[in-house]
C-alpha cells in the first residue's frame, strides 16, 4: 500500500518519516518494474529472485519465471513416440495398428483402429480392450473421459460408418469401447481410435 506524503505538515522539520515513505514506495516501484526488464538468457544478472519473478529472455524470445529453483520458460507441447497397445481377446489390430503416445504436457492420444477378431458385431455393452499400460501412474486419467468415435464393419469398411464411443477410466479396465448396434450386414465390428485423447494428472 502506498504511503502518501503531506509535506506541508513537516516541511522544514524532521523528514525521517518522509524518507521512509519515499524509499518504501521506491521499493514498490522497483518490485513492480523489475519484472520483464532483466536480461538474457533468462535471469542473467538477477540477484536473489523471488518466486514468481518474471524476466524477459530476449535470447529465447519468451518470458521466463523463477519457480524457486530455476527459470522456467513457456512449455511447448511435444509428443513422444507412438507405442503399441496390447489388446485383450477377442480384439485384434485393425488395418492400422492401435497405438498411443504421450506428450510432455500430460496428454495421452490414441490412433489406429481395433476390430473384433471374430468379425462379429461389436459385443453388446462395453468391452475392455486394453488395460492401463503406462509405467508411470502419473499418466492415469484424472477424470473418466468419453468421446465419440467412428466405427464400421470390417468387411465393408468404406461402405458404412457408424458412431461409437470410447470410455476411458482409471478404474479397473482401462479403455472400454462400445459401438452403435445398427445390426444386419453392416453391424460395426471395427472402431477407430483417432483423435481420442485424455488428460493425465501430470502437471504441465
Amino acid at each position: 500500500m502506498v504511503t502518501y506524503l503531506n509535506l506541508h505538515r513537516t516541511l522544514g522539520a524532521d523528514l525521517t518519516n518522509e524518507v521512509l515513505a519515499l524509499n518504501n514506495n521506491w521499493d514498490q516501484i522497483d518490485t513492480k518494474t523489475m519484472a520483464l526488464t532483466a536480461g538474457a538468457p533468462a535471469g542473467t544478472g538477477v540477484v536473489a529472485p523471488t518466486v514468481g519473478l518474471e524476466v524477459v529472455d530476449h535470447v529465447g524470445r519468451n518470458i521466463a519465471v523463477w519457480d524457486g529453483a530455476t527459470w522456467r520458460s513457456p512449455v511447448i507441447e511435444t509428443w513422444g513416440a507412438w507405442q503399441a497397445i496390447t489388446l485383450l481377446a477377442p480384439f485384434v489390430a485393425g488395418a492400422n495398428a492401435p497405438m498411443l503416445r504421450i506428450s510432455n504436457a500430460g496428454q495421452v492420444e490414441f490412433g489406429g483402429d481395433v476390430q473384433n477378431g471374430a468379425q462379429l458385431a461389436w459385443p453388446a455393452g462395453f468391452s475392455v480392450i486394453n488395460q492401463n499400460q503406462f509405467a508411470a501412474a502419473t499418466y492415469a486419467p484424472t477424470q473418466t473421459c468419453v468421446k465419440c468415435l467412428g466405427c464400421s464393419p470390417q468387411a465393408a469398411a468404406g461402405a458404412s460408418r457408424n458412431i461409437g464411443a470410447a470410455f476411458v477410466s482409471n478404474a479397473g479396465g482401462f479403455l472400454k469401447i462400445w459401438a452403435q448396434l445398427s445390426g444386419g450386414a453392416f453391424a460395426p465390428n471395427r472402431v477407430y481410435l483417432n483423435g481420442l485423447r485424455f488428460y493425465s494428472s501430470l502437471v504441465p
Partner: protein, 219 residues
C-alpha cells in the same frame, strides 16, 4: 536534485512543495494501480477484485497466469504463460441456464486454458430427471450453458460460430446405443452454448474433446 539510485521527474525551481500532491502522490496512485503479482496455490476463480491484466504466480503449476477477462457465470479466465495448461476449472451450477432440469454428471463439466490460447472442455451434464428433449420432436435447441461473453476484458469465445459433436449416453446404462449430439458455440456478444439432441433416448452428454482457439490472430 537526484538520488543516487533513482531517477524520477526532476522538480524545477518554480515547483512549490505544495504541488507534491499533484506531482508525486498522483504518481504513487498510478504505481499502486499497477496489479502486483501475487503467489497462490489455487487460482482465484470468482474473486473479481483482480483487474483484467493481473498477473499471478501459481506454485503448483510453476507458471504465471494472466487474467484475460471474467464472466459472472464462469468466473475468471486465467491464461498460463509458462505452463502448457491451466488447472481444470469447475465453475459450478452458475454456468447452467436451467439448473432445475440439468446438473453436472458424475464427471462434472470442467474447462481449462492453454498457453497458446485454447479453451478446452471435458466432463458431462445430465438431466436431473428424464431424458434430453428430442430435437426431432421439438425442433428446438437446448440453451444449456450460459454465455461466455466477458463482463470485463477479453472473451474466450471462438472467432466464429463453432459446432462440435458430443457423446450422449444413458445414465447407468452407458452401453446402449450411442448416438451423436451437436453443440454449437455462437461467437457473439450474447453467445451461449446450445446442444441438439437427436432423440429422446439419452439423459447425459459428454463434452470431452470440445476445444477451440479463442479470439483472433492466435498462432
Amino acid at each position: 536534485m537526484t538520488t543516487p539510485n533513482y531517477g524520477f521527474f526532476l522538480s524545477t525551481d518554480l515547483d512549490p512543495m505544495s504541488d507534491v500532491n499533484t506531482s508525486l502522490n498522483n504518481n504513487w496512485t498510478k504505481v499502486e494501480n499497477v496489479p502486483e503479482q501475487g503467489v497462490v496455490a489455487t487460482l482465484p476463480a470468482f474473486d473479481f477484485s483482480y483487474p483484467v491484466g493481473s498477473r499471478i504466480y501459481h506454485t503448483g503449476y510453476r507458471s504465471t497466469f494472466v487474467l484475460l477477462g471474467r464472466n459472472s457465470f464462469w468466473g475468471n479466465f486465467w491464461r498460463p504463460i509458462q505452463a502448457r495448461y491451466s488447472p481444470w476449472m469447475q465453475p459450478g451450477n452458475t454456468i447452467l441456464v436451467d439448473p432445475v432440469n440439468y446438473q453436472f454428471g458424475a464427471t462434472p463439466l470442467q474447462y481449462r486454458i492453454s498457453n497458446q490460447g485454447k479453451f478446452i472442455l471435458r466432463g458431462s451434464i445430465d438431466r436431473v430427471a428424464g431424458t434430453y428433449p428430442d430435437y426431432g420432436a421439438t425442433a428446438t435447441a437446448i440453451n444449456l450453458l450460459q454465455t461466455l461473453a466477458p463482463d470485463a476484458g477479453a472473451g474466450i469465445t471462438p472467432p466464429m460460430t463453432n459446432d462440435f459433436p458430443l457423446t450422449p449416453y444413458q445414465i447407468n446404462t452407458p452401453t446402449v446405443n450411442p448416438q451423436i449430439a451437436m453443440m454449437s458455440i455462437i461467437a457473439s456478444g450474447t453467445s451461449f452454448m446450445r446442444v441438439w439432441n437427436p432423440n429422446a433416448v439419452v439423459n447425459g452428454l459428454f463434452f470431452d474433446g470440445v476445444e477451440w482457439t479463442f479470439g483472433i490472430n492466435v498462432a
